[in-house]
Subunit: 295 residues, 2 copies
Amino acid sequence: MTTIKSDDKRIAIIGLGLLGGSLGMALRNGTWHRSGWARKAETRNWAIANDVIEETSDDVDEILKKADLTVLCLPIPAIKTFIEKHAAAWRSGSIVTDVGSVKQSIVEHAEPLLQPRGVHFVGSHPMAGTEKSGHEAAFPTLYKNAESFVTRTENTDPDAFNTIIEFWRGIGVKPVELEVEEHDKLVASTSHLLHLLALALTQTALDCPPEQQQQRYSGCATGFRDTSRIASSSPRMWREIIENNQASVLITIKEFEKRWKHLREIIESGNFDEFEKEFAHGKELRDQWVKYKKW
Amino acid sequence: MTTIKSDDKRIAIIGLGLLGGSLGMALRNGTWHRSGWARKAETRNWAIANDVIEETSDDVDEILKKADLTVLCLPIPAIKTFIEKHAAAWRSGSIVTDVGSVKQSIVEHAEPLLQPRGVHFVGSHPMAGTEKSGHEAAFPTLYKNAESFVTRTENTDPDAFNTIIEFWRGIGVKPVELEVEEHDKLVASTSHLLHLLALALTQTALDCPPEQQQQRYSGCATGFRDTSRIASSSPRMWREIIENNQASVLITIKEFEKRWKHLREIIESGNFDEFEKEFAHGKELRDQWVKYKKW
């Protein structure tokens, strides 16, 4: 039995930074009893004082024991070690999900540790975030209109899977089902690549001799602000994401380089009719996506 | 005598799209008498009806004749042909500037046509814009907190140059002086490159087999929205910009590729400590710039 009774269902939010803190805020006035935990006592106190969670404990196992659903809002390596250390705390039938930006390495780690204990792991990845991190950056509408990937393996318990689907729906997030391997390839091209590009373009625009800096600062305007925004993300977090999705990221890098080479060649050869066509095609692709998102 | 008397100074805004329309709006309640012209009568009517300009004419030469200062807010090739066709309309002592994203090809074209007639050309490039175009996209605060390059050549009239500097200051834009050649190299790395990258990343993320499209749409979230925003710009306009700055753009492309190659190699080799260092360096560069801009 993995279905949670709605009258007394308890959620445990582990990690109360941007994603975990915002999740607790999004669940305010809902049907879940919100418990939570963060490594630092000061973050736990902040979360209680600001109605991010209703209950906490110095001993995280106390929180896990009572949880019907646990959402691990930790960095990728911390998700793995947390499950290792605390696998015994969850009771059989409990459901665990996470918000990590990669899924395969997490799910492969979690399933063998939890499944033998009757604890159901379903990997999630809400497409929500900003370039900021930490609980100070949390806000109640972070998940508004977001979509969340909910991943499946051959071991996934169907009821647990449905519970996670409904959980995301409950806070206005559109769940998108897919296989774990598919997920990691997909986000390599829709998210991970972009962070590498934002980094490289920031370096190209701003890493210059000191005497050029003032002019470069003036030359970088709103276009730079937006294309480079995610370069202000956490270096540690992005190291962990790329490290845990190396193979798919390298495939996407190749795909990007093919397209980049074509653009460079048409500029080199002065074929600006072709350049205009390519630009129009990119604009059309993006404008269609904007329509879909209704942002 | 190039100084304009403040009691009866007349500005002519030629082209009333995003940049020209927004300029007219920014000059409301100021000391300039605002005249203007656009190719389409319907745009001219819109501009009069919405207090973007106070005066227009079917015959643009009538507008130019009376202008103390003319701001050409047209696409790059149109700026050049406009000056060719209408050089005789300006009176001696009149000052002409523009808002084109490249300067060398414009200034080299304008100076020999205007200087013999005593008309002073000073190339400007306000770092303001959005991915939209046309007068419908114009808004009064487009130039707010922007910086504008004001370019100099060995032929530049110092008084005319100062008038342009003060003109931008008058609408709250910070003028930044530099040589024409410097300008084109600079914006290749702070603006033109970014448009090429936004295009290539949009294609990589969204140009896929139809059966993958739905998942790609879901995988593209706020990070994609911002890094790709300028890929929704006008293909014609960006063709013209890149075409008119080909040499500098190709130099910047090489600079980007050097940095990109380094990032790819450290990911390939699994040197994620180095990757984290690079990311931290990029973040620091961007965060410093954000502080400078106070946005």
